[in-house]
Amino acid sequence: MRVIRAGLLLRGVLALIWCQSLAAHAQSETKHWAYETPVRPPIPTVENTDWAENAIDAFTQLEMTRHKLTPSPQADRHTLIRRVTLDVTGLPPTPAEISEFVADKRPDAYERLVDRLLQSPQFGERMATHWLDLARYADTHGYHMDSHRDMWRWRDWVIDAYNDNMPFDQFTIEQLAGDLLPNATISQRLATGFNRNNMVSFENGAIADELLTEYAVDRVTTTATVWLGQTLVCARCHDHKYDPISQRDFYRMYAFFDQVPENGLDGNKGNAIPFIVAPVPDQQKIVDELDEHLRELEAACRQRFEAADSAVIAWEATFKPSDTRSVSVDPELVIDFDEPSKELITSIHGAKSFIDGRIGNALLFDGQTYVDLGNRESLEACESWTIAAWLFPTTLDSMVVVEQTGKDENVPSVTIQLNDGQVFVRVSSSELPKPVQVTSEARFERFRWQHLAVRYDFASEVADVSLFMNGELASSRESNFLRSDDRDRKTSLVIGSTESGRSFRGMMDDLRVFSAALNDEDIAIIADGDLVGEILAITRDRRTKQQTERLKQYYLENYDLEYDRIKSDLEVTEQRRENIWAASPTSMVMQDVAERKPTHILTQGRYDLPGEVVEPSVPAVLPPLPQDKIANRLTLATWVVRPDHPLTARVAVNQLWQTIFGAGIVRTPEDFGTRGERPTHPELLDWLATEFTSDWDVKRMIRLFVTSATYRQSNTSMPEHVEIDPENRWLARSSRLRLSAEMVRDSALYASGLMVEKTGGPSVFPYQPKGLWEEIAYDKAKFTAQAYRQSHGADLYRRSLYTFLKRSLPSPTLAAFDAPSRETCVTKRVRTNTPQQALVLMNDVTFIEAARVLAERTLASNATTEDRVSAMFIVATSRKPSEAESEVFEELVRDLRGRYEQQPSLANALIETGEAPSSNSIPSTELAVWTAIANVILSLDEAITRP
């Protein structure tokens, strides 16, 4: 160890003491700086104006001068393009991009480069990665068995928002309250997934209320951290110890987030409620096209219908009764519910609601309603009968359509009911050897008119029941569903059931009873609802509007070929739309319950100690909510982005600054309270904040940052700066920063050419050591995300932000480089330097395979050792190797070649690493040598560093 650091150590201590005294000073102020609306400061005048590129530089230069520092010169072009490409896209530049930029002599070459990068789709992916840390985005629920969820549509929303340069105020409002916007779109509802990224439990035995409390606490805490830079969670159990935030303030904010109609225990089967169908763009495109087509078809139907009047009259004139099909048997009983007779009214028990039905009116059955037909009709066991009706069920619960209870020995018991949409019929009687019981295979759906006919055919002492659904014989099977007949009720025929709660729910229309077994043709006619003959028998001017329309409908459906064509197109199109909808992914969203639940202050933060009731509001130290708006999430979201908000813009630009410069102007991005660090450049922060609120344009801010002279400085030219300002607070140089976890892996994939660049989509499963999930997993057979099923092909090489993130065991490759587990909001990642990182770079198949493929690619187009080293070196580090470096490689190549030529089996083994197909044209020893060289190059400190 070199001991030169001792001096630095002391100076570091002194610098820190100085900072602390500043902070102590700050605390004695009357109002903490961050709670005052930023006032746009004048841009300072500085001496050396030649250096400055934009306003940022005047502010930074002022601090440099104060600290006896001078700006570093601009970095060389290789460094600049590497730095800005990594910062803006998360990927290194290609050799072609480097040489183009280096050769570009135009004065605005750099600005052009920046504009190109800001327009690339990789920008959104780069920016999203930080936002996903803030939003604690993951692909599993987190608690206990930690099974999978689908939030990647939300993740893609974030990427798209950055790429479309959605203004930050809109970005905020849609994520916090998109669901409450008027006529909220799928995309706006999708955006609210931000606050559904909290962990969810399905642990057996857990207490729902306790978990619901944690979910809401997580939401309020995260929202306060991300947008306000406030440590609100400190006020969960008591008033905040350091900041002017009371416990009451906490629960007033909490009251915006505890109204979700969700389950305490959920997530055992994918997404937890509430969630929406959120088609991917390709699916949405088809859905939109189909919707458009459906609208056209419906319009065409209507048009055809409107225009058909004269055609109907013409047709009617030529119509012969034999042209219409009519039922050969007259019914014993018809109840059409159209103009209810007094007799019918008295036989209806419960609510008597007649509403627009299948034909004319129908009767509404609410579960209590039933129609007792008394002795008007009864069904016999030894005679045939048919009973038919139009049904519009509103539930799939078990419910009785028609019932006849036989207490009297001569009357059979008949039950016709729907069980989960399946038709069940039972006829039992002392006159039958055993009860006849059948169940349909098919099911009726809810919320549609469907026709049911039950045919009881008694011939030669054998009873046979056939079921017809929508006019067609439905396949049925003998049922084992057993029910006792010993019910002490009267023997009459009842529509619905006298037993409360068992009766039909929905609408019923046109019930007919025949004392014969109707043939299939007759049943088909009834099911058509074809009462055409009857309508035609009425003179035209005496027909009701409904009858006229029904006739027109009949004409169109049976005689108008064009109408028929449109109709079948409509049906096919509807089915296609339904299929796409069913195949579309879902995403969890925010939603509020219809009626507000009271929010209590929780004593000691405990779910089971509710105290005083509070209304939703914001901390008293901050500007108040508008008086004239209801205090809901939308009002909160709008308040967050009001231009004079003291915190939002400062917190947001600080995070953007951190993304580009490696550390924030406030180095505690999560805490702008009194315990947080003071801004290093308070005026600059306020200037940027006011600049940002003018248009909330994220790309413009990033452009401003990276085109500043401050950003473009070299980091190596002035070693004395390191001694004076070890942490680079005063920005008189650029910071050398280890790449983020995602960038480390992505750079290797990109360098090798393996990377598959595709924006968005379901998360992927790249290489991971075997058995890792299984070691900690719950029941593999019952729950998802318990066993790791590695992807193959393209999905092995997607950018790392698409790697499936299981919270209880995140990707070890990424975790080694400080990627968080996304259980909680993270505003700032640490950058460690560990032996595990060395092991990943040395041995992870991801990196060995990347080395091998990089070697193949390089060997294919470069002949000499020098060219090969140079080509590989530049893809990894964005510069050519120096002479001294080349010599190290030359020597290593010679040495390795000797070793692999002596042991060709080793070479063969090495080049088999990874699933990417290998080129056979390169001798294996040569490929092994260069794979090892590439492994060294990809492991260089410089290869995983943003200069």
């Binding site: 630095l8 969670v233 919270r807 070890p812 909680t824 595990q836 060395a838 190290v888 390795l896």
Partner: protein, 471 residues
């Protein structure tokens, strides 16, 4: 093993070559911390390292450590309301019409000079009982596994906090130059066993070098340790020589000490490649070791093998070794299932105590045997004659500690006659954590880390050092 964090150049470079903990170093650097007097250790330590044997799923105190001979009188009768006192139940038994008292079917007998009563399920533990301190009055708030395990490991029920091993790594660093300060070993895991989460050995808001390194039962002992096929140690050595040379050229050009740290980490990784497989290889142990730990210890990944591995890691100076053994969650068939679990663990737990003692390591190694909570005196489901279950019970449970400054042969704390409530000397999870840190020479109130504006500590706002069980 030493680690580096680069938010302070000087700090990083300094730590890299001293092996002292970050907190210890921080006191030299950060005046704010200095004011809080964070120099670690705060006291003369009685333990240098910890082995934490976490029996996840929660073993039944009633069938193992908390002897209740009088309970047979109550067997099958309803648990008196006065005992339950309206305390909450899990949703597994909250809807149960009857909560019949269920006496343990296992015999208890007194052992050792201390005369401590233990269940017949623990014949081996009974042999070393005079070396143990049994605490029968542990309690926690969490009523389910996930929050309860998170609590005993991180001091909070909700995620985000560092685990106890991470705090120790942060506070004390490692004794070893080649091994991590914090190691985790897993065993068990039949389908349906309670799942684990890496959160329990994660570093929370502490820098991630303080998270545990997991040793695995097959393949490479730790992730990415093995060179790929075709790269021999000699070839790797040659590659690293060149890599080091190239990194040094960069270091000279940039003056960035981070690069020097990286060179050191690659060298450390190489040394780990040499040493770790040797340490993880149990086959070189003599026959009498397997006689002591049991034949299971020959099978990598078993609890017995992990106990043996823990001893080997302790010998190498690993600071904190966390074992997790699964499948103690006996909601049904506890009578048969707990027998199986005791057969799998009793001998090895006892062997570890005995082995460390005869090697002179027990005096400065703290062993803790604990679940995350206890189990109910009433049965879950029907009280069948042959078998039944017991539900989660956070209000009292039993653990034991040994070595590292803990008073041997002591039984501390008492529960009521139903092992439902604590009658004497309650010990909260935070108290246990404070006591464990105390053994390591750390004042639990002074080992803090500022995150989100607050100086966090393992014991949150609680914790009392249970001095009665020390010395």
């Amino acid at each position: 093993m030493t680690n580096h964090q680069n938010n302070n150049v000087t700090r990083r470079a300094f730590i890299g070559h001293t092996g002292i903990g970050v907190a210890a170093l921080a006191s030299l650097l950060d005046p704010k911390l200095l004011a809080n007097d964070q120099s670690v250790p705060h006291f003369a330590p009685t333990a240098k390292r910890v082995i934490f044997l976490h029996q996840t799923g929660a073993p039944s105190q009633l069938d193992l450590y908390d002897v209740k001979p009088e309970l047979s009188r109550w067997h099958g009768q309803e648990l008196p309301q006065s005992v339950r006192g309206g305390q909450r139940l899990t949703t597994l038994t909250a809807g149960q019409a009857s909560l019949p008292v269920t006496a343990s079917p296992f015999k208890f007998a007194r052992h050792g000079e201390s005369g401590t009563a233990l269940s017949e399920l623990l014949p081996h533990t009974s042999r070393v009982v005079d070396d143990l301190c049994i605490v029968r009055s542990m309690h926690t708030e969490a009523i389910n596994h996930d929050p309860a395990c998170t609590m005993i490991q991180t001091g909070a029920e909700q995620p985000g906090r560092p685990s106890i091993g991470s705090w120790v790594s942060y506070g004390l660093g490692s004794e070893s130059q080649e091994l991590p300060a914090f190691v985790v070993l897993l065993s068990g895991g039949l389908p349906g066993d309670q799942p684990l989460s890496s959160r329990w050995w994660g570093s929370g808001f502490l820098p991630s070098q303080h998270q545990a390194v997991k040793f695995r039962k097959r393949g490479e002992p730790v992730l990415y340790l093995n060179n790929p096929a075709g790269i021999t140690p000699e070839i790797r050595r040659r590659m690293l020589d060149s890599l080091g040379e190239l990194n040094r050229i960069q270091s000279a050009a940039t003056g960035d000490a981070e690069i020097d740290a990286r060179i050191a980490q690659f060298e450390l990784a190489y040394r780990m490649q040499e040493s770790l497989p040797r340490i993880a290889d149990l086959t070189e142990e003599p026959e009498h070791t397997f006689a002591l730990y049991g034949e299971d210890a020959r099978q990598p990944g078993t609890y017995a093998a992990n106990c043996l591995l823990a001893r080997r890691l302790v010998e190498q100076g690993v600071r904190f070794i966390q074992l997790y053994d699964r499948d103690w969650d006996h909601h049904t068939d506890i009578v048969s299932q707990i027998k199986v679990k005791c057969r799998e663990t009793d001998q090895a737990s006892a062997a570890l105590v005995q082995d460390l003692k005869q090697r002179g390591l027990l005096k400065d190694t703290l062993i803790v045997w604990a679940g995350e909570f206890g189990r109910t005196v009433f049965c879950e489901g029907e009280l069948a004659k042959r078998d039944y279950g017991r539900d989660h019970h956070p209000r009292c449970f039993s653990i034991w500690l040994a070595g590292g400054g803990i008073r041997p042969g002591l039984t501390y704390g008492k529960t009521d006659e139903f092992s439902y409530n604590i009658a004497e000397n309650p010990v909260h999870i935070h108290d246990l954590q404070a006591t464990m840190l105390r053994c390591l020479g750390i004042d639990h109130e002074r080992l803090t880390y500022r995150y989100q504006g607050r100086d966090h500590r393992l014991t949150d706002i609680g914790g009392r050092v249970v001095s009665e069980i020390l010395g």
